[in-house]
């Protein structure tokens, strides 16, 4: 069975529409969504309504959570003062726009969703703020998949898609406890694990304006990173019409994320 997984739509309805059309063309039987339905983009309500009407299993992203619980991000999750300022403008705008049913829907989204050997999260199994970047230490990455108790971990949040294969993981351990016989060295092994980052539908940062998502075939286990062209100028115009900062439109048209990512990707705010 072919499944489609997408993430980080960020109120970009035109991009979502194009991706749904492409999913149809790829004949995927089921769709999953990894959150951040709202924030930055001009159509938060329409995006949520579309996801709901299609009954797409969805987890909660950090933006969805902030809209429900109030802006909770600490300074450290913004890489710069400028990014923080822009993030706050986007948050306030979105907060005024979303209607009560949308807020209610976002509030009940789970942090993780599991099906068979697949796990779906926004950031990482630990937190929807943690970035699983492709250059993350391989053992740390492996630990994140193992902690999800799945073979495939689907995530988003970084807005750049990738597939990371972690194979033949092994660690040797020797445990010593007083009053116990000497323990031999034990070897732990892991089977093949994969992290699949599905990129971003509505706010790509791979250098082109195109939307990205992933098609996964549960039988052949093949992963396809899909890149979909759409009329991003429609969204750019809507950003300006909505009174959102014009720089959002400029960055969207260039495949630059609106706000740069934090320096320390594993940092998780304790607040």
């Amino acid at each position: 069975m072919k499944i489609a997984v997408m993430s980080c739509i960020h109120g970009n309805y035109a991009a979502l529409d194009a991706v749904l059309l492409d999913i149809d063309r790829q004949k995927a039987e089921k769709i999953y969504c990894l959150g951040d339905l709202v924030g930055y983009g001009p159509y938060p309500n329409a995006v949520v309504e579309q996801i709901r009407s299609l009954d797409i299993p969805t987890v909660q992203g950090c933006w969805d959570e902030d809209i429900v619980e109030g802006l909770n991000a600490c300074d450290c999750s913004y890489p710069s003062l400028l990014a923080e300022k822009r993030g706050k403008i986007a948050h306030e705008w979105t907060n005024k726009q979303v209607n009560p049913e949308v807020r209610e829907y976002l509030a009940q989204l789970p942090h993780t969703y599991k099906e068979d050997n697949l796990c779906f999260v926004h950031g990482s199994p630990n937190s929807n703020h943690e970035y699983l970047l492709p250059e993350m230490d391989a053992f740390t990455a492996l630990e994140r998949v193992l902690s999800s108790d799945a073979d495939l971990l689907f995530c988003g949040h970084t807005h750049v898609p990738y597939v990371r294969t972690l194979d033949s993981g092994q660690l040797q351990v020797k445990v010593h406890q007083p009053n116990q016989n000497k323990q031999p060295t034990v070897s732990f092994n892991t089977p093949l694990k994969r992290i699949i980052n599905v990129g971003s539908v509505g706010e790509p940062r791979h250098g082109r304006p195109n939307a990205t998502y992933v098609i996964y075939d549960t039988e052949t286990q093949a992963v396809n990173l899909q890149e979909v062209e759409y009329d991003y100028q429609t969204t750019c115009a809507a950003i300006l019409d909505a009174g959102l900062p014009p720089i959002f439109a400029w960055r969207l048209a260039r495949g630059l994320e609106f706000a740069e990512k934090a320096d320390d990707p594993t940092h998780v705010c304790e607040r």
Binding site: L81, L82, A83, P246, I247, W250, E260
Partner: protein
């Protein structure tokens, strides 16, 4: 002795003066009319040559005390500067790119030097200047803004340069010319400022067309560290500098 240097924007006046200074042992001075509010080139040159004598507006009478390079900004009228040049024994240098036909400069000059090729503007150029003296900027914010600026987010930019006091206490020099791929951004060889608001000059100058001046000004403001947080950041820098010293 006055060496007056003129050229179109971005053709390399400061760069040429920089080269000349390295080749002499005699006392050298520098004066650039109408740049006192944001003396970017003057501060840059002095960070490279601490002994360089900088002249300000009002000190014109003393220009002859050194070999003085008089950098004439491209937007100044040559006729306006003429009386000053007449007062002294001056040598006139024009830096003219090969692809530029500049009759006025050619007639004016005693010596013509080929300059960096520049993109000829199709529309009239505007200048947007911002004084940032007293402000401290956040490095990552500035990097984002500078990238957006030079890639055209706030209008077409042919030249941008600036000096910025950053959170680490250093003053940075940024220089961008349209069509040149290397983006210069480096700390100047000047003392770190770690005690409150800096009272040395900083700011920027952007030359281009269709510049969204209001957006530029707002974005630069958003890059500035709030006054209430300056002390906190400076304390952190001091602590980390102290640890570095211990390690060494």
């Amino acid at each position: 002795m006055i060496i007056a240097v003129a050229s179109p924007t971005g053709a390399g006046k400061t760069h040429w003066i920089h080269q000349q200074i390295t080749q002499t042992n005699k006392p050298v001075g520098y004066f650039s009319p109408q740049t006192d509010s944001v003396p970017i080139d003057a501060i840059y040159l002095q960070s490279e040559y601490p002994q360089l004598k900088l002249y300000r507006a009002g000190e014109e009478a003393a220009l002859n005390n050194t070999i003085t390079y008089l950098e004439i900004p491209w937007y100044l009228d040559l006729a306006g500067i003429e009386p000053l040049l007449q007062t002294f024994n001056s040598h006139r240098v024009a830096i003219i790119p090969d692809d530029t036909d500049s009759t006025e400069l050619k007639t004016w000059a005693d010596e013509i030097i080929p300059g960096d090729c520049i993109t000829k503007p199709t529309t009239a150029l505007q200048i947007h200047r911002g004084v940032l003296t007293g402000e401290i900027l956040d490095f990552d914010s500035l990097a984002t803004f500078w990238l957006e600026l030079t890639q055209g987010a706030y209008g077409k930019v042919v030249r941008a340069k600036g000096i910025f006091d950053l959170v680490d206490g250093q003053i940075y020099y940024g220089d961008f010319r349209f069509g040149k791929s290397e983006l210069e951004f480096k700390p100047l060889n000047l003392p770190r400022w770690l005690n409150g608001k800096p009272d040395r000059k900083s700011g920027f100058e952007i030359v281009g067309s269709n510049l969204d001046q209001a957006e530029i000004a707002q974005t630069v403001r958003d890059c500035c560290v709030p006054e209430s947080a300056i002390n906190y950041y400076q304390q952190q820098v001091k602590e980390s500098l102290a640890t570095e010293l211990e390690v060494v």
